[in-house]
């Protein structure tokens, strides 16, 4: 029997991502649902977290939801409006970079948390061309924690990426460090079905939480590669308080939630 959840897939995804953000974190955010997760964290569990954009604005007031990371809405009442070189240096520099948690999206992810935002098919002659790295490759190279937001589908959770845009654990074990990268990359994957993390030793993705009314088997069915589900437990669903704050304070017009 199908039970009707008192929240939508977008709402549970947003809340699951928001819970990853700790007080005092600097949150590297894009727009859309990632921005909403950052705002939800600030309003629910991490009031002293700081929202930060690759274009150089930091701690913007965000009276209105921005639709791009260059939206003039992020320039109003920021602590500083700087520029690209400065924003990326803030993440490359471990003094500040260690405090950054990034929220990223992608067209494809593999079992090691590597992301593709560039193309489907051959790079030179792609079947589908996407926007490209933007700052994604930089952030995934620099900061210790990244949340990947994905729709959980087989064609997105793939054995082999068509193009590796943003490095995760590369080929697992210590290959990330060997390549020259700091510890970091995607550390948690939040989808419409569950929450995945990466094994400390092997770097492989495992299922951590599955949502109410979703089974680990369903998640495996929607994943092209094998994934350890032995550690998986049922996720705590969003609380009434979390949902109320998300709906009434973060996106009252439901610009992103719908």
């Amino acid at each position: 029997m199908k039970t009707i959840q008192p929240y939508t897939p977008r709402e549970i995804m947003t809340i699951m991502a928001a819970r990853e953000i700790k007080n005092g974190d600097i949150v590297f955010s894009g727009t859309g649902i990632s921005m909403l997760a950052a705002m939800a964290a600030k309003n629910i569990n991490a009031p002293d977290s700081v929202i930060f954009f690759e274009t150089g604005a930091i701690d913007s007031l965000l009276e209105e939801l921005p639709f791009a990371v260059a939206d003039p809405r992020i320039m109003y009442w920021a602590a500083a409006n700087s520029r690209l070189t400065d924003a990326f240096a803030t993440m490359q520099n471990p003094i500040t970079g260690e405090k950054v948690i990034a929220i990223l999206g992608a067209a494809q992810i593999d079992r090691y948390g590597n992301l593709n935002t560039t193309c489907i098919g051959d790079y030179h002659s792609p079947e589908i061309r996407f926007s490209g790295s933007g700052g994604g490759c930089d952030v995934a190279s620099f900061v210790p924690r990244c949340i990947a937001f994905m729709q959980h589908e087989k064609r997105k959770f793939v054995k082999k990426l068509d193009y590796l845009t943003s490095p995760g654990q590369l080929e697992g074990n210590n290959s990330r460090q060997k390549a020259g990268l700091r510890p970091g990359g995607v550390s948690v994957v939040v989808t419409n079905l569950g929450v995945m993390r990466f094994d400390k030793d092997t770097g492989k993705m495992y299922l951590d939480k599955f949502y109410p009314s979703i089974t680990p088997e369903k998640i495996l069915k929607n994943t092209e590669f094998d994934m350890d589900i032995s550690r998986a437990t049922l996720a705590d669903p969003p609380t009434k308080t979390e949902l109320t704050i998300l709906r009434e304070e973060c996106d009252p017009q439901r610009l992103i939630l719908d």
Binding site: T31, E54, T55, G56, A57, E63, E64, F67, A68, V69, A70, D71, P72, R73, I74, M75, Y76, W77, N81, S82, R83, L84, T85, F88, Q92, P94, T118, C119, Y123, H124, S125, P126, E127, I128, R129, F130, S131, G132, S133, G134, G135, G136, C137, D138, S141, F142, Y163, L164, T165, S166, P167, L170, S175, R176, A179, G180, L181, R182
Partner: protein
């Protein structure tokens, strides 16, 4: 007496003088903000072609130039245009159909490449991109690079840290400098000598300007030297870098200029929809670009009502509660 430092010329003349077929160019702004659109439309009207564009994330300007067939080679980090086109429509089509040669970088890599050009060094190091296909997949072949003196022989390079493990890095990625023939940016204020004051985020405009052999500034307000000299702390670009100054109010429309006007989401959507269909796009171009002799005439077609809608609120710098498509 004519002041030799007076660089004010009409935009049409500035484009004719500095942007040639096959020029290597860069444009300022980021996705839907402060793209030098009047200059972009003038390049299209003048049918300048075979351009090599260096872009980090130039959304609207990039996609109009590709759509008009002005670009043959592109070095790029991101081709998206906000909500209207998460991937730029012409950019995606041109890449899928091999209409342009393109090569991918990250935003930091492109920003550093302009910085290296501005500094006069051949490359700069970063810790970004190890293990990624950005390092290994080249858009321009080795033979093409060798045969073109304006393109660097290697895309990127990885070397061991010559200082051991100093600063916790065993290796670095080197990104090669860019020195465009011409960079065009749009700013809030400039004086006749070319000194500029940018309000809001500067993106990579300052580095792009300082890396370039020639620089065209378009500005909302052409102000006196005295006005800019009263607050030198607010000026990011001194006149020595600038070749030409063009007074073009609303010169970034349909992209935003902080403190002056918002992006026109309705126009950006119209552009994205037209871009998906060659016939529709031809009509779009004939109406808005070729149908207007200059930017003022283009704005006449847009109409005062749209301009009033996007005009920024003085407190926030954007149009408050504007309906956004």
């Amino acid at each position: 007496m004519k002041n030799s430092l007076n660089k004010v010329i009409p935009l049409k003349q500035a484009i004719e003088q500095y942007v040639k077929n096959s020029s290597h160019i860069s444009i300022g702004g980021f996705t839907i903000n402060r793209n030098p659109m009047a200059a972009v439309y003038e390049i299209i009207r003048q049918k300048i072609c075979d351009l090599h564009l260096y872009a980090h994330s130039n959304g609207t300007g990039l996609d109009e130039l590709i759509g008009a067939g002005c670009i043959s080679k592109l070095e790029i980090a991101y081709g998206g245009n906000g909500k209207a086109a998460p991937t730029c429509i012409h950019f995606a089509r041109a890449a899928q159909n091999n209409e342009i040669l393109f090569e991918d970088y990250s935003n930091y890599m492109m920003s550093l490449r302009f910085t290296a050009g501005a500094m006069g060094v051949p490359f700069l190091p970063t810790l970004s991109g190890f293990g990624s296909d950005i390092l290994t997949k080249w858009g321009f072949s080795k033979s093409m690079r060798r045969s073109d003196p304006k393109i660097v022989d290697n895309k990127l390079a990885v070397i061991d840290n010559p200082f051991g493990d100093w600063a916790g890095a065993s290796k670095v990625v080197l990104v090669p400098a860019i020195n465009p023939d011409v960079t065009i940016i749009h700013v809030q204020k400039a004086d006749a000598t070319g000194t500029c004051s940018i309000q809001g985020l500067a993106f990579a405009d300052i580095e792009q300007v300082k890396a370039s052999k020639h620089v065209i500034i378009t500005c909302e307000h052409l102000v006196t030297k005295e006005e800019l000299r009263q607050n030198p702390d607010l000026n990011q670009i001194p006149f020595i870098h600038v070749s030409a100054v063009c007074h073009v109010p609303l010169g970034a429309y349909p992209t935003a200029v902080f403190g002056h006007y918002d992006y026109d989401s309705q126009y950006l959507r119209k552009f994205a929809i037209a871009a998906k269909n060659p016939d529709k796009f031809k009509k779009y171009q004939n109406k808005y670009i070729y149908g207007a002799k200059d930017h003022d005439a283009f704005l006449d077609i847009i109409g005062q009502e749209r301009i009033d809608t996007i005009t920024a609120d003085p407190r926030t710098g954007y149009s408050v509660n504007m309906k956004r498509d």
